[in-house]
Assembly symmetry: C3
């Protein structure tokens, strides 16, 4: 069943307000391409990022964090060890974590590792249609994604021109966003990090991921209005995220 | 002999048109400093970047790619293994590849590895004058560079205020560009990646590398007109690359 | 005793002039998040960055450099080896070096390594209050920081809304800067790199670090005036650094 959109809009605005007050720490095991932009996006939205992948450091950083991101880009042996160590600490501490299996459709070792991590039951699995098909072996329809959510016990967020978020029973469709978001490297990686930051301040996991994607989508729309191409768009995205108010979210969210 | 400049101008415009239509994949083994900017430059010009250097992932990504970039910055043991694995896959698949031996004039281990890779006959060797002198042991004159191209069986692109491209028999000089390009880190690394993307859509290897350098140079001129310094220049460069039309290339190329 | 502020203002302006003329090389062992922004900040201010952390390459790059930065972010085993190798070469060559123990308050292995490096007597130790407390075991007061400087034989630069620089006998307080500097990842890391670049052109170590922090602070104030948020601020920061004249420094420094 489609979830109540007004509920998610209201909770997204409230979650952004809490995020600004609490400034949650998000530890990111993410790829070297995405690290700097992801850190700047988290700072802009109001969270505090940390980024080390050194396995001996990851337990301390994860223990201090309110949420965890595991992104499988540039998946070297260090990142594999770091991901497993971080997930263990996050689960022990009851911390939410997001898995982003970027490009798992292209690299077979990465796909195998993504499947291993899914068995650890990520709070949220965020991916695009090609990654979903490779990982879940299903069509990227509402039914297929819902079935994946029920199997994995994760919220699944399938992002694209329209984002689909489902826990297997309810679903929400988010229409916010702009095509320029696909022309900036690491925009999807950064969205996963923002979703993690909202999990730190919103206990309803589905409402949290909807809030994160709506905030990114509304900021993307505002940034596009100020941009002259993908370079100025990425810059304007950071400005828009920092300037975004809960009222902006309430007024511009397009959830159905 | 100097090649026919009108031919290269026409083919550069046509190659940009094909690049936009085909959106070739370019796998980049490049340094950690350059990864994000290179990915954004490739997206802006119309290509699809991938960036992993994890040796176990590199074969799958290279097999899916239409062209390969090997940049020797931040040359750790992982990048050495990745480069060798990627070159093997690219050669097996008949894929073009570009070697960028950045700072090989400073690091002796890097210079030795660059010499080893040159023996694998890169499609294009792109470098600056100091790197050329260290690698080729010749003066960076038209004659010296042409001799290097004949010896290595590579197209050699010596970049600087004027870019020189030669296959040993023909040469082209490209006057496009702007001094601010030297004030942004990874601009040269990104130029090599763009050259690789053009090799994927233009079979005349010399025309392809000329097209890549002209596109970067014309975009640089347009970006400089909109910039207030190196920060806004880098942003405007991405905007200019995305906005550049084949007609812009035909009208602004300065090749002799 | 508080040092003579007029002296530091005059020497900062003169040091910027020399930096522009001499274009010193700064080798940076720094974290993957900070590498690109740090390189662009160094290029903007007028220095020449290099960034490899591959242990076999670090000796050649450090031997060619005029100053060295050791930043402990994303502290993997490669970075540990690279740091030790670089410090050895820098000390042999009498080159100044800056230690930035970023987030040493969070990661115990990083804190232990920071303590080991402090025993090698860095020319400058730059850190924030939380890192200082963890590393020095003292309160971040003028007296506490001065005691740390006397013990470590390093200039200590404690940065925050007001920056404190002391050699244990003299101290200077720098009021320049803007709150947006804390909203851009790697801004502190880049400040440490700029401090290293000034050590290459100013023999009075305390004057050098004051110059570096004043230049960053004045550029930050000018960038903020042109910014619409943290994204455009980071871009404007690079533009402001490149445009900053010695006269601007002399006119805008707020040192006491």
């Amino acid at each position: 069943v489609a979830a109540e959109p007004t509920h998610f809009t209201t909770s997204a605005a409230a979650a952004l307000q809490r995020l600004r007050t609490r400034a949650p720490r998000v530890h990111c095991i993410t790829n070297t391409v995405a690290q700097a932009f992801t850190a700047n996006v988290l700072l802009a939205v109001g969270a505090i990022p940390s980024m080390t992948v050194a396995p001996e450091e990851v337990p301390d950083f994860t223990a201090m964090a309110d949420a965890l991101l595991i992104n499988l880009g540039t998946l070297d042996p260090t990142r594999r060890s770091a991901a497993l160590a971080a997930i263990e600490v996050a689960k022990e501490g009851g911390r939410p974590w997001v898995l982003d299996p970027v490009f798992a459709d292209i690299s077979r070792p990465r796909l195998a590792f993504a499947r291993e991590l899914v068995r650890h039951e990520p709070t949220v699995l965020r991916l695009n249609a090609a990654e979903f098909v490779a990982l879940a072996g299903r069509d990227p329809t509402v039914q297929g994604v819902a079935a994946c959510a029920l199997e994995t016990l994760s919220i699944v967020a399938l992002t694209g021109p329209t984002d689909l978020v489902t826990d297997g029973l309810r679903h929400a469709l988010i229409e916010n966003g702009h095509p320029l978001m696909a022309k900036v490297t690491a925009m999807g990686c950064a969205s996963s990090a923002v979703a993690a930051s909202f999990l730190a301040v919103e206990h309803d996991r589905m409402a949290a991921i909807v809030a994160g994607l709506v905030v990114m989508g509304v900021a993307g729309e505002r940034a596009a209005a100020a941009a002259r191409g993908p370079g100025s768009f990425a810059v304007a995205m950071l400005d828009a995220l920092a300037a975004l108010s809960p009222e902006d979210v309430a007024g511009s969210a397009r959830i159905r």
